[in-house]
Symmetry: C2
Subunit: 442 residues, 2 copies
């Protein structure tokens, strides 16, 4: 769920012509529009009513079973029984804020922080990735005394006022705010040519820093989703973010790794930033953290959090409640018990090989990128230009084959492939065969 | 949990002298400080470890049972079995975002909107009251084209960057942002004298509007917690907000009712604004909405939400998930099945009478205010001035009598009394007797 206008336009029920829909569905849609109004957005030309989730599958009201490769929140599998029972047991025992001592949240925090590099030893829990990014920006401003932020051109970092301002994909109608500078994500051309991805990205960040400093606003932080989800998924070459981090630090700014999408094992390592061999100053967490239980977090250095707290402090009523901690702890259990990070690597590699084979077969596939079970596949027209219409057609054709998948990227032409991490080689085979059939019929 | 600096200072473990604590507790506190860092705040001079909740009670690690009159989140009672089983059942069935049709969230939205005045017919679900208020500000700016907000002097509206800017109680160190104007909550003196509370409040809002307009920023909205929780709890005379709403509308601005604290029956009516016979333009919801399940919401007019969505749109990954809807629906069930709103009125009235009796007995009680089961009681020194130290001493003495209660207000001298709505006359009697003993011993 990347929330960008382009992506919504790509796979969205537009509410216009409902003549092809059943009377029952039309009535449901009208009722829904009357309660959720203009903010109601549904996937697919013909919206689907879901009633159950189980592992990699979603089941609709007619009992049809879909392979879910769209939603990266239920990362250890829809309705995983270990997570569900942890939530149920803790909700029956105690659900409270963090102003009393409470083992579940203290033990969870210690366990989670064990997955971070030395120095990143403080956790502040929030309820969403948006709240985490909102807080991260404020910490960066408190630490640096500056207010300028650098983000990628099609970034998405959440839905509060402050993070919408650094999410160009959310508000293409609005001009970029004065304190925000945009840099291009690594270019497909450069990656394809084996070009200097790291150097080019660092150079563009360097220029944006100089521009912020010259403007008098000053440079607080660079914030990047460490797999550039909304920009179109850019993972390679591993390590390409290191020179950029060094430049950020030389300029006195902070490096914020937004792990809301890549985090918790999806890329085949615990964090997306781990692949780049960097230690960010702030890491933000969300979506898969509780497998759907609303929770997020900010991990940073104690001195940075202290600096922020001297000014304002932070309290989040629901953040760090013991039910969230139980959900988060159960997610860590399942990642370990079912070897899901290794599975993201191996099954992800298998899936990627299959996509590369399809690419050899179908010239309309312009590129395959990603890491672990977070892969992107570009569609191009015959002239090699981004083809959003083809991505849209493929998404709707795959839905007919009972596979759910979305799109991303600056041009909306990148298939965004991110199934639950319990995805097996058999599921990969099913997807590859269905995609082959769809592409043959195209 | 009002998150104000004054209140934290009032009932906060300060981390300094731990010599009076057991070795085990000291170790826990050190471990906690090392993971949560400077943002870790605990209640009470000697923090308490809680392990269970049940109805109006919290139970600590030693098995001691406390009467909880502090936390207004578990509003239908800690770990209410109907809410817990609704969460458990739905979490096992399906937990997903709002881009598929889904009965639980659609039915919940329709049911919840049935509790609002005509016109307020669109619901946008969020995960927290902070997210709801953040969105409300953006809707107000989209609708009015202005960016100036008016709030009360000790208001608290949440923890994102945007709502912290309109929460003077959160950041007493910072100067008020240029787009924010502060007005005094109704004065105790005026209320005590039977003065023109409505007229005085309207007059101060009128002046703030004029100031915002003169500054060139322009007036977008007044946002008030409809029982002025952080300001010290001001509920009477019922209806006093009506002239202010009219002035706001005459100036082309919006009236935002923040129901995060008073909402869902606590004041003896479903919403705090209901007592004032007004229809706000935007209503925000949070804390008690899911009895602790992280959820919030914004209710507004379809034309206002449309206006906002033309610019940006809004999507919240966890907002409106069916588990939240199940929790929210169960809360509405319990409010009805157990007649909790009527109970808030009747038991609240009983409790208030008892507090008034104590006031007659103890001159250090300077005032008793509130509605339903949301009451405030001021402590004054012998000269009649606000006495924060006395409030703090009473809070710690009540804790020794196994009663948990906090404080609020500009001077931190107001006992903030808000038990779960299943609070009975017997609990009220227990509290009154304990408070009497504490005051006698003072």
């Amino acid at each position: 769920m990347s929330g960008t206008k382009q992506i919504l336009a790509l796979n969205r029920f537009d509410g216009g012509d409902t003549s092809g829909l059943s009377a029952g569905l039309r009535e449901r849609l009208e009722k829904r529009a009357s309660t959720f109004g203009a903010a109601s957005v549904l996937f697919y030309e013909q919206p689907i009513e879901m009633v159950r989730g189980n592992g990699v599958h979603l089941i609709d009201v007619a009992g049809t079973r879909y392979l879910d490769m769209y939603n990266n929140v239920p990362s250890v599998g829809h309705c995983h029984p270990h997570v569900v029972s942890a939530i149920a047991a803790q909700a029956a025992r105690l659900n409270i804020h963090t102003r009393y001592l409470s083992r579940p949240v203290e033990d969870y925090a210690a366990r989670l922080l064990g997955h971070f590099p030395a120095g990143l030893s403080n956790l502040t829990m929030t309820c969403t990735g948006s709240e985490a990014n909102d807080l991260a920006l404020r910490i960066a401003t408190a630490v640096t005394g500056k207010n300028g932020f650098i983000v990628t051109r099609t970034a998405y970092h959440g839905n509060t006022a402050a993070v919408t301002a650094i999410s160009p994909s959310s508000s293409s109608a609005s001009p970029t705010a004065p304190h925000v500078r945009l840099v291009d994500a690594p270019s497909r051309a450069s990656i394809a040519a084996g070009g200097d991805v790291a150097g080019l990205f660092a150079q563009s960040v360097q220029a944006a820093i100089a521009d912020l400093e010259a403007s008098g606003i000053g440079f607080a932080a660079l914030i990047v989703d460490s797999i550039f989800s909304s920009d179109g998924i850019f993972a390679d070459p591993a390590g390409f973010l290191l020179p950029t981090m060094n430049i950020v630090h030389e300029a006195g700014g902070l490096f914020i790794a937004d792990e809301v999408q890549p985090g918790f094992g999806r890329t085949g390592t615990m964090w997306g930033f781990s692949r780049h061999d960097i230690t960010p100053d702030i890491v933000t967490l969300g979506k898969p953290m509780g497998n759907g239980f609303p929770m997020g977090g900010v991990v940073t250095r104690p001195e940075f959090l202290s600096c922020f707290c001297r000014e304002t402090g932070y309290f989040n009523t629901f953040g760090g409640n013991p039910v969230a901690a139980a959900a988060g702890d159960a997610v860590l259990d399942v990642l370990e018990d079912e070897n899901l990070i290794a599975n993201a690597r191996t099954t992800g590699a298998l899936l990627r090989e299959g996509l590369e084979s399809l690419r050899a077969e179908f010239p309309r596939i312009g590129g395959v990128r990603g890491a672990g079970l977070f892969l992107g596949l570009d569609f191009c027209n015959e002239a090699g230009a981004p083809d959003q219409a083809m991505a849209s057609a493929v998404i709707n054709a795959l839905r007919q084959k009972l596979i759910l998948v979305g799109a991303a990227g600056q041009y909306g032409h990148t298939l965004k492939i991110r199934p639950p991490l319990c995805f097996t080689p058999a599921h990969a085979g099913q997807f590859l065969e269905s995609l082959r059939q769809v592409l043959r019929a195209a």
